[in-house]
């Protein structure tokens, strides 16, 4: 629990980019898993992910930011039919 004096007046968040520090990945029921051998790094998933949770390294698909991925499956659905490199697996498994 943060001390009272640290609460910013009126709930103003005094700087930008703080959503990054707030883990929202716990809402996820399905987890995306990429097969990097199949992946062509077209980055369609990176463009389409509504949570900016597709991670790239040097312009190549590198996996997922599971602290923010909600498991919506958009990436898996948008990965081109010829490739289908992303599978959604149950978090419970």
């Amino acid at each position: 629990m943060v001390e009272k004096k640290e609460y910013p007046l009126g709930g103003v968040i005094p700087k930008g980019g703080t959503a990054h520090d707030y883990s929202t990945g716990g809402w996820r029921k399905l987890r995306p898993v990429v097969d990097l051998d199949k992946c062509t790094s077209c980055l369609i998933c990176w463009v389409m992910c509504p949570d900016s949770a597709v991670v790239t390294e040097e312009g190549k698909m590198a996996g997922f930011d599971l602290e923010h991925c909600k498991g919506c499956g958009i990436c898996a659905a948008e990965c081109p039919d010829k490739v289908k490199a992303i599978k959604m697996v149950e978090e419970a498994e």
């Binding site: 629990m1 943060v2 009272k4 609460y7 007046l9 009126g10 709930g11 103003v12 968040i13 005094p14 700087k15 930008g16 980019g17 703080t18």
Partner: protein
């Protein structure tokens, strides 16, 4: 509109005086939607904008909900913001009133008191601002045109006070005060500027380097802390109001307090009433005093925060008190001022008898004879120690 003074006095309606105060304040932004009886405020002020007498950005919106929303956006950007409304207009702002106060934006609003529909009515009562009494806004009430004019400046200072940072509402009676011409003393522009100073917001939406977020969501782990923070600011607003009123009195010679008392010191029976009806009540006090009857008046000026200890202190010598409400809480237990005054007096020993009379709804006249009747009933209660009817409508 050119405003000229004769012997230091200027004849203005309540609305024109408020608009003139806004002109002198020259806020950064004014977003408003005109509504009877406050229309003339926005009309006069838009004239000042059109004539280049102010540098205010006037946003003409499509509703009062939008007016308050635009005020909030502008205030979050760091602007000094003002608006005016009445009745249904204030009601339509409701949702946003809470957002303005929760976000701690010191917006100043002139509310010209008017009854709420239904039935539709354009005349004075206090159901509009009384309904907003729990919205987290500081509320100042005004008996006269002069006081409404003065309150606008004090509202700016109280709202923007570093210990407060809450929006503030200045209330004046629709038509009775808003449309009556009164000779008032205006303050020089230069003195207004010195009194209100400049406003420097702590955070601004336009600050792209820091990129702050306003109005973020809070969950059960933080919401209550923000509400406590807001509540403490409202508690501090009393001290800030006293400080601002003192400074105002020192600079301009017009003394104001948390409330006004009239011949209350040795009174056995008193009326508590807001705004213009206090003037009528004072005439009745004088008449009854001539007959040797010990009556007096207390007129709250600062209603939010509610200075309950001070009010109890001022009324403690009275045996019977009648609170007049120009609004009904529709709780089958009287009006809002009654509930709060009666609660404030609960700890007094001996505890005075306290009654409530609902008067003047929808602009119904409240006359000296009405006040005399109320006093006579209160004097009877003071003598017998018994209240015959706790709550009832008068001026029917």
């Amino acid at each position: 509109m050119a405003i000229t003074a004769t012997k230091g006095q200027t004849g203005l309606t309540g609305n024109s005086a408020v608009a003139y105060a806004m002109k002198q304040i020259n806020p950064d932004v004014c977003a408003a939607y005109p509504i009877t009886p406050s229309t003339q405020i926005v009309e006069d002020f838009s004239g000042y904008v059109a004539d280049g007498e102010v540098t205010t950005e006037l946003i003409t919106v499509e509703s009062e909900h939008s007016a308050m929303s635009a005020c909030i956006g502008a205030a979050a950007a760091g602007a000094r913001v003002m608006t005016a409304t009445s009745s249904q207009g204030l009601a339509l702002m409701w949702e946003m009133l809470y957002i303005a106060s929760g976000m701690r934006l010191p917006i100043v609003l002139a509310n010209v008191n008017r009854a709420l529909s239904s039935p539709i009515n354009i005349h004075c009562d206090h159901s509009d601002s009384m309904g907003a009494r729990d919205s987290g806004w500081v509320q100042l009430y005004s008996e006269t045109v002069q006081e409404a004019y003065d309150n606008v400046f004090m509202a700016v200072r109280i709202a923007e006070h570093k210990d407060v940072l809450l929006p503030a509402m200045v209330c004046l009676d629709g038509f009775i005060t808003s449309h009556a011409i009164e000779n008032i003393s205006l303050i020089e522009d230069q003195e207004v500027r010195q009194f209100i100073g400049s406003y420097n917001a702590k955070a601004s939406l336009l600050d792209t380097d820091k990129a702050p977020t306003f109005g973020a969501m809070t969950l059960p782990d933080t919401y209550i802390e923000f509400k406590r923070q807001q509540s403490e600011a409202m508690t501090r607003a009393k001290g800030a109001a006293i400080e601002v009123m003192k400074d105002f009195g020192k600079r301009f010679g017009r003394e104001y307090g948390l409330f006004e008392t009239y011949r209350l010191e040795d009174a056995e029976a008193a009326i508590v009433v807001l705004n213009s009806a206090a003037g009528t009540t004072k005439v009745a006090v004088d008449a009854l005093r001539k007959e040797g009857k010990k009556v007096g008046l207390l007129r709250p000026r600062l209603f939010r925060p509610f200075p309950w200890q001070e009010i109890a202190g001022a009324l403690k010598g009275c045996k019977a008190i009648t609170v007049l409400d120009r609004a009904d809480s529709m709780n089958a237990f009287g009006g809002p001022v009654f509930s709060e005054v009666r609660s404030a007096l609960y700890d007094l020993d001996p505890r005075p008898r306290v009654m409530n009379r609902i008067y003047g709804l929808g602009g119904r006249d409240y006359k000296v004879k009405d006040a005399v009747e109320v006093f006579n009933e209160a004097l009877k209660a003071a003598e017998t120690g018994r209240v015959e009817t706790l709550v009832k409508y008068i001026t029917l």
